[in-house]
Amino acid sequence: QQQVKQSPQSLIVQKGGISIINCAYENTAFDYFPWYQQFPGKGPALLIAIRPDVSEKKEGRFTISFNKSAKQFSLHIMDSQPGDSATYFCAAGVGTSGSRLTFGEGTQLTVNP
């Protein structure tokens, strides 16, 4: 079964700290790995995404690290801010079906002021 395992379930960091969320997948056919941010009552919003031909992608304070051999990828949020407090989901997709995604269970991030 196609699964994406996400950890931790919840995370509390201080303002200015680094938030790290990890995901692992099983299906080696996955070749598209996005991260979504979701606020209460809202739909998920795409943050950043990576394909396995690169090991790292950075956009502003958000960085994805990708380890193809270990089938793992992670999201790093640098200089975390209280406004980053939300639920974060990793996901994985296959080929051109970028919108048929398998999601992780989510990480509830709280950034304390």
Partner: protein
Amino acid sequence: DAGVTQSPTHLIKTRGQHVTLRCSPISGHKSVSWYQQVLGQGPQFIFQYYEKEERGRGNFPDRFSARQFPNYSSELNVNALLLGDSALYLCASSFWGGEAFFGQGTRLTVV
């Protein structure tokens, strides 16, 4: 620019009833996918439609069905509602092979 719009935003139904949820994709997007998000969990894929044809189906019972119209909008139908169908139903649109953009969802409560 308008994003993905879903209607209604909230809905309360009784067990055994039928429900229809609607989605309008971002202009120019021809692919629409539906997801179910139970409280505290990640979204689960239900259907993908592209150019009015079903291109993928997740592990959901036949009570769930969908269709896409010539203007690329889509409907998700659920028959014989169960308490366990209570969830946030999300619609995502994209170009084929492109990034998926989600709507705000329809919160369905089955009582």
